[in-house]
Symmetry: C2
Subunit: 427 residues, 2 copies
């Protein structure tokens, strides 16, 4: 079913960048191949709600075929792209039956980023990050499993350790996780145990800088920190994590070093480039930032390689934040640029990011949102958050069920999805 002599566009990754790029090419005279390591697109801003038992995996992870299956000029292939050869113009992927190679005329790398442990990759084992569906489901097991373990533990110190949750990184993900775990402890699980009081759980949010949500405007950071403290989260700023082991973390503040014993540690700090990004940089001689992400030209291409676009967190341009909107707009920009070239039109303007604003949920009915000149908080911020996320969620079905679950979990105190398969329950 290949249409020969057509311009072949290969898109690596089906995150926001890849999906928006593919959609921007739907009417272009091209053959698009989207290669993704899993069968689904993840709505990353909501993945913490899978981890904390509000949403089901299917509500934040939509099969790529459901999103692009009707787009006639596009095929979707399962595979982890491991290599790119800019001379031969091919990418190599590891698929279900082994490795395969696909040729391209134009390549769009939208492969996202990985967690950065700032050189301490050994931390990963004990303080996993939350990028994939697997990460989120494992974290769900760790969080709810800790309460189960505490219920049958007999040693008070061990019980306290099991009921301590440390979140490293005060960005939106860290704030949302801290708020959610605090809710779980004080509301969802209230009255459900006989030997422990879930509300005695300690939720600690750490960040090396002096405020939470550092990419937001200062008044919003202050609002979020105040609210988090009100619901019982220990917000510790100017605090550096110097070690992580199975039993806890070691931190350094201006007051000196300290140890926090904690069964559950979550890493929500920093992003780094992927192995594929490093391969691409080597092969093209492109420069990277400290995290290994490619420094792209103003038109999102790799310098010297106008046929290779890098969008979203795989690349970096003008220190744009690693948010969904940057990837969506970058993907659309790349898709349109390719269509324009093929139509023989002159190159368009450089990529410019239109900042629609920032938002993060802090607790029940409470979110902070910076939209244009407005700094919103509390229930107004939350309603805005709700509207925006319902609008952007993929598919009418997910919108309906997610909205239903939000209303249920915010009105009542139950969460829909905290059953943990044995394989995800920590032993």
């Amino acid at each position: 079913m290949t249409q020969n002599a057509e311009h072949r566009v290969v898109i690596v990754g089906a995150g926001f960048g890849g999906i928006y790029a593919a959609r921007a090419l739907r009417k272009a005279p091209v053959k698009v191949t989207v290669i993704n390591g899993t069968n689904h697109h993840v709505f990353e801003p909501l993945i913490y709600q899978v981890a904390t038992g509000v949403l089901s995996p299917g509500e934040v992870a939509t099969p790529v075929r459901e999103l692009l299956g009707k787009q006639k000029n596009t095929e979707v292939r399962l595979g982890w792209v491991t290599d790119v050869d800019p001379d031969a113009k091919t990418v190599t992927a590891t698929g279900p039956g082994g490795a395969y190679t696909v040729g391209y005329d134009t390549l769009i790398v939208a492969a996202g980023a990985t967690q950065s442990y700032f050189g301490n990759d050994g931390f990963a084992e004990h303080a996993p990050g939350m990028k994939t569906l697997d990460d989120a489901l494992d974290l769900r097991g760790r969080v709810f499993g800790a309460f189960e373990a505490a219920e049958v533990a007999t040693d008070p110190e061990e019980r306290a350790r099991l009921l301590t949750f440390v979140i490293v990184g005060g960005g939106p993900t860290g704030v949302e996780l801290a708020g959610s775990i605090s809710e779980i402890a004080t509301r969802t699980l209230r009255g459900r145990y006989r030997n422990i009081d879930p509300a005695s759980a300690r939720v600690v949010l750490l960040d090396a800088v002096d405020r939470v949500l550092p990419t937001f405007r200062e008044p919003l950071s202050a609002k979020a920190a105040k609210r988090l403290r009100k619901i019982g989260v220990e917000v510790r700023l100017g605090t550096k994590v110097v070690d992580v082991d199975a039993d806890g973390v070691k931190i350094e503040t201006t007051d000196g070093a300290e140890r926090i014993d904690a069964a559950v540690k979550i890493w929500a700090a920093g992003v780094a480039g992927t192995a594929l990004g490093r391969r691409l940089a080597e092969a093209t001689g492109a420069e990277t930032d400290r995290g290994g992400r490619i420094l792209v030209a103003p038109d999102l291409t790799v310098p010297g390689h106008p046929e290779i676009f890098v969008v979203g967190e795989s690349g970096t341009l003008n220190r744009l934040p690693g948010v969904a909107q940057v990837a969506m707009q970058g993907g659309t920009y790349a898709g349109r640029a390719i269509a324009r070239r093929l139509a023989g039109k002159p190159e368009g303007k450089p990529f410019s990011y239109f900042d629609k604003g920032n938002m993060a949920v802090v607790s029940r009915w409470n979110a902070v949102a910076g939209i244009g000149p407005l700094n919103l908080g509390g229930p107004v911020g939350w309603l805005l958050w709700l509207g925006v996320h319902v609008f952007y969620l993929a598919g009418a079905r997910n919108r309906t069920t997610a909205m239903f679950r939000w209303v249920i979990s915010f009105l009542g105190r139950n969460r829909s999805e905290w059953s943990i398969p044995s394989s995800r329950m920590p032993s």
Copy 2:
């Protein structure tokens, strides 16, 4: 928070038997401890819908604490019960922090059953069964993963093998799986691939006996087989599976031996007792059936041990079928019997099973149901199935979202939950 001097009832297992037993004891002057190997109760009749991407894990698996958390006299502990000592009156469980022991005055074993491979336990690796949430999620990965692998496969024979699904066992689970996989191939995935036609998938349902649904009345078996064949399922009866390996199955019919190459094999035939059941039989000298399930007395106790009840599939009495209703009624019977004893009332009547009927979904809008003297099929059977399952599903929330998903997936052609985390995707 233990209440001393109270009668201690330990319930092993939070399936239908365990939950109904605990609920029957809610007003009794006892301290109930429910020990379960996972944090959730599984609504087993619907677990195939998790495997086939219709329902989310949380819709069929409800946390035990959500079901019993408000019952003041009951505590819930996570643990796999590995041993029982009828003399010391204790059970030993492996919990999140290691082994622990709990003493009982009365014990209710409601630990379910395992898959029986009729002596060929080596089949399990290649043809897993579907008892747990893990099983269902793994199967989801196998089924949807096979289509992804076929899409990138280049060898036509391998492609055919990847698109062949063999289900062993024509009971309700086998029939429901065969019908669902056929639907996935012909409806859900239609038009979503470029290199394969999902509708070319082969779905083969095998059983050694001469009809499907052998525990149903004959006209219903005939209706179900006819419908399955109409939607393209190869129903092969009188067919014995003599070998299973990674690449397929070997079968024997009256016409001789044959090999079917198939990537996905599912075992839905036969149940056997658990390791705990065997331990209990050894310790009490109780007799077991061929599958290793305890032959219980007419009051569901272990002969000679009036303080030990065995309910649901852990035991066997009068060859009752392994259905939810038998476990529910057995659990309620055991709970009430204990309450009656403690109130000083005389022993009640022996357990008698009230057969409310049988039903199985065959395809979209089509189920067979035997209720009293009625043999129903088609849309009428399906509506009945819908009503009964909505009624019995745990919790208003699950009822609402499951109903929504059923309507969506039966009216439209999408399934809500077919995103597969990498760890569940076969490589």
